[in-house]
Amino acid sequence: MSNTISYDDVLRTLDDLPSLPAVVMELLNSIDQDDVDISVLAKKVSHDQALTAKTLRLANSSLYGLQVKVTTIQQAITYLGFQTTRNLITAAAVTGYFAEGHCPGFDDKAFWRHSIATAACAKVLARHMHFNQDYAFTAGLLHDIGRLVLVSCFPNQYSLTLAYREEHDCYLLAAERQVLGVDHVDAGVALAEHWNFSDTMRQAIAHHHDPEVRGAGFLAAIIHVADAVVHALDLAQVRDDLVPQVSNVAWTALGLDEEIYLQIFRETELQYDEISMVLLS
């Protein structure tokens, strides 16, 4: 009996996933555009009360240090800007999107702890690199999203993958390739296409494990390093977590010294506490 899945199998299952709220799809697809009609979008988001509440709680967290409490999406846009608010809405929507608990052995909570921590760390890194912080945050949040596609659509095979990893104490990525034949990067890229992510975002998801590939882009390097830092800081609290090998090329591309890294570690921990309290509650 073979447990392998082909890339086409993955593509076929994407349509079976429940769709994101239409307004969130619209936001994701317009990430490269600046001429979006903000007031229309604000109104659309407001129709989804749960989404609005979660977004506003994020906006009012100390992460953004607002002096006033925002009570509407429109107000959040006024104070935080469109890009940042868009990120918050996306984060709030995506973290509640995939059904949990279908795959024995897969810890959904730990998955999101890692993703949120990576988003926080990528945002901090981006600030130090003078790179777009909102891109970094969203890419960090979604870098491993392919794993949720595999877990949701092939729970039994994924369970075997987790068992294989446990037995061989190897990287989960290696176990995926060994057992399934496809990995979470493939599935992530497929989903990114399906959801019409921008090229920048797609590249970051596609190359967060091999940022030294030509054309991978700087965002991939940021996410790659953020991913390793978060594993090393033990933020997901997984007993047998493993720090992935850090690409020398990506590390050099960021060119940060120890002083800065120590500061980044601390900022990441603080921001993580704050965001996870809102998104995982």
Partner: protein, 117 residues
């Protein structure tokens, strides 16, 4: 930066405690210098700056406690980095990250303290 500090929730910080590190606000501006002795008035202002955690110097631990904490961190970090071979020259970025994390958890002078023992 000193070897033993705690991130304490604002509610748990008492006047008289000492900042173990420079305190930045969310924009990265300096609010208070390292070593500042915290007063009631300062603590009352923290929420306004969006700060709910503070790095404060740990109260003097007994040497046994300190050693136990250190051993715990060292063991955990070694476990997380168990696939990293510090002597393999081609994997220097990962080794460097490991060293920075050790410095972050144990304080930058932890290596020196060891050599005195």
């Amino acid at each position: 930066m000193t070897g033993t500090y705690h991130q304490l929730a604002l509610a748990d910080v008492r006047p008289g405690m000492v900042l173990s590190d420079v305190l930045l606000d969310l924009q990265g501006q300096v609010l208070l210098p390292q070593g500042a002795v915290l007063t009631e008035a300062m603590l009352a202002l923290m929420p306004r700056h969006g700060i709910d955690m503070l790095p404060v110097l740990a109260e003097q631990e007994s040497p046994e406690q300190a050693a136990a904490t250190r051993a715990h961190h060292e063991a955990r970090i070694a476990h997380l980095f168990r696939k990293t071979d510090a002597d393999a020259g081609n994997d220097w970025a990962t080794s460097l990250l490991q060293r920075f994390i050790l410095d972050f958890r144990l304080g930058r002078d932890h290596g020196k303290e060891h050599s005195h023992e």
